[in-house]
């Protein structure tokens, strides 16, 4: 993970001058708009298909080289493409990404585990994260996703994927929930089910957004802050109380910060930290259009028209105009994928996370040693100790925690909608 730090400096410089001095480190590859879900929060399946072939991906990834660290293969439903493992293999051969992230609806329970196993074999030194979508428990999931029997199939897929964990050390199995007006009141149940029953390696939630890519503009699916804040803070409380080690401690600290960013974005309706979409992150649409992000989904150029040369497509005048617009704050959103990259490129956020991780580690070590060796294996909520102490001594509003200060009263007093 540390290998991204020199890239971050280049990307920060790119943002400052408004021109790319390096290629993005976070790439989302939307491999097809085809989807066998009919979610109430998405219309992407209505888009016509003009998908890249594996040969086209191979040429594109060759042009990107080792600059990108984090690849997301999304859709539509990415596992509907039989050649998904070959795509990942091409990305691995040319780009050697540190992280490969694949969301799935889990509907094709007989096919997905096998296809993911081939993905894991194709990228043996990358961390492969597969996130199963879960927007409700039982029939409620089926209703939000528009497919009867989806929950049952998703659970079978989850079992199949979990069986791979013993064989592949590079595999992280996660669960992903989109919080919308259709399920915000159910979120506590979903969280409890995931935490107590599924016990995945990671659980992430994303707020339902209006995006040009998904054709959800004007739909009003985003929950208001008054309904979102209590449920997300319950999740944040869980993160802070849980015990994490090593990289997971860092990941969870960023995740906690991300949820704070979402709350602030809902209330303040602006870029809370600078957005480096178009600099540090990018998306490739199924037909080869290159976007700065999926929220605006505005093409900076098409790879087919630039001989599959990502760098040439990324350096167009249109791309520079979009970078200017984003930097000027002409848009804002809580998009998770871009937000994590933005946080990584935002020095105060990285410093805050570092302080918290060190504090948590020290607190855990002290607590562990005071309990004796036998206590080390116990699952006790020690990560929160330093945080709690900080709150009691009145330092919670200090600079080091500035991103955490979303006052409950302030937020609840405002209408987001």
């Amino acid at each position: 993970m540390l290998e991204v730090l020199p890239k971050v400096a280049k990307l920060q410089a790119s943002y400052a001058v408004g021109k790319p001095l390096a290629l993005p480190m976070n790439l989302t590859i939307s491999v097809s708009y085809r989807c066998n879900s009919r979610c109430k929060t998405c219309n992407v399946w209505q888009r016509p298909n003009d998908d890249f072939t594996i040969e086209e991906y191979d040429k594109t990834f060759a042009s990107i080289g080792r600059d990108a660290y984090w690849f997301t293969f999304s859709g539509g439903e990415p596992t509907l493409r039989k050649d998904l493992p070959e795509m990942v293999e091409a990305a691995y051969r040319h780009c050697r990404p540190g992280i490969i992230n694949i969301p799935t609806n889990g509907i094709q329970d007989k096919i997905i585990p096998g296809r993911i196993e081939r993905v894991l074999q194709a990228a043996p030194t990358s961390e492969v994260i597969v996130n199963l979508s879960l927007d409700g428990v039982g029939e409620k999931h089926d209703i939000v996703r528009g497919v009867k029997g989806n929950f049952e199939r998703a659970m079978r897929t989850y079992t199949g994927l979990k069986a791979l964990k013993g064989r592949y050390k590079n595999f992280t199995l996660g669960v992903h929930t989109v919080i919308s007006n259709f399920n915000v009141d159910e979120f506590d149940n979903i969280y409890a089910f995931v935490r107590d029953e599924l016990k995945p390696d990671s659980f992430i939630s994303e707020i339902a957004e209006e995006r040009v890519e998904l054709d959800t503009v004007g739909m009003g699916i985003t929950p208001q802050i008054q309904r979102y804040q209590p449920v997300i803070e319950h999740l944040q409380e869980g993160i802070r109380k849980a015990e994490f080690n090593g990289v997971s401690r860092i990941t969870q600290a960023f995740r906690d910060r991300y949820y704070d960013l979402v709350k602030r974005t809902l209330v303040e309706k602006r870029q809370v930290i600078p957005c480096l979409a178009g600099v540090a992150s990018a998306q490739i649409a199924p037909n080869g259009d290159v976007w700065t992000c999926c929220i605006r989904a505005e093409s900076v150029g098409n790879l087919r028209e630039h001989n599959y040369d990502f760098r040439a497509t990324w350096n167009t005048a249109r791309a520079n105009e979009l970078r200017r617009s984003i930097k000027a704050g002409e848009c804002y959103c809580p998009l998770a994928n871009a937000s994590y990259t933005n946080m990584l490129c935002h020095t105060p956020t990285v410093a805050n996370v570092a302080v918290e991780v060190v504090r948590g580690t020290v607190a855990a070590a002290l607590s562990s040693s005071s309990r004796g060796k036998s206590a080390k294996s116990r699952n006790l909520p020690v990560i929160n100790a330093a945080d709690e102490a900080c709150r009691f001594d009145g330092n919670s509003n200090s600079n080091s925690l500035s991103l955490r200060t979303v006052s409950t009263t302030t937020v609840l007093d405002q209408q987001s909608d």
Binding site: Y33, N36, S37, R38, K40, N43, W45, Q46, R47, P48, N49, D142, G146, V147, K148, G149, N181, F182, E210, V212, D215, T216, V217, G218, M219, G220, I221, T222, Q224, Q226, R227, K269, I295, R296, A297, E298, S299, E330, C331, Y332, D417
Partner: protein
């Protein structure tokens, strides 16, 4: 002409998005009523305040088309009844 369930704008019969509020018309005929009820129960305005940059971007770059089989289904059965023909829910 078809009236948008959300904002009342009159649109061409096979339009993808409402000319007024940009809502996806197929989605609106399937789900708007439910969402409006949720919004009403939460004492929110029936119509969301979508950020202007999104509405403008959507108008500028998202004129369609819709996947052929859905467009044909909508033409044949209309927005409301098309939902029954394309649903992936088992009968």
């Amino acid at each position: 002409m078809t009236e948008c369930p959300q904002c009342g704008t009159m649109n061409e019969d096979d339009v993808k998005n409402c000319r007024g509020c940009r809502i996806n018309m197929y989605w609106a005929f399937q789900h708007y009523e439910e969402l409006a009820a949720i919004r009403k129960a939460n004492r929110l305005a029936p119509r969301p305040k979508t950020p202007p940059f999104l509405v403008e971007t959507s108008k500028r770059i998202d004129e369609g088309p819709t996947v052929g089989w859905l467009r044909n289904t909508i033409k044949k059965f209309g927005f409301k009844d098309a939902g029954k023909k394309v649903s992936t829910m088992a009968e």
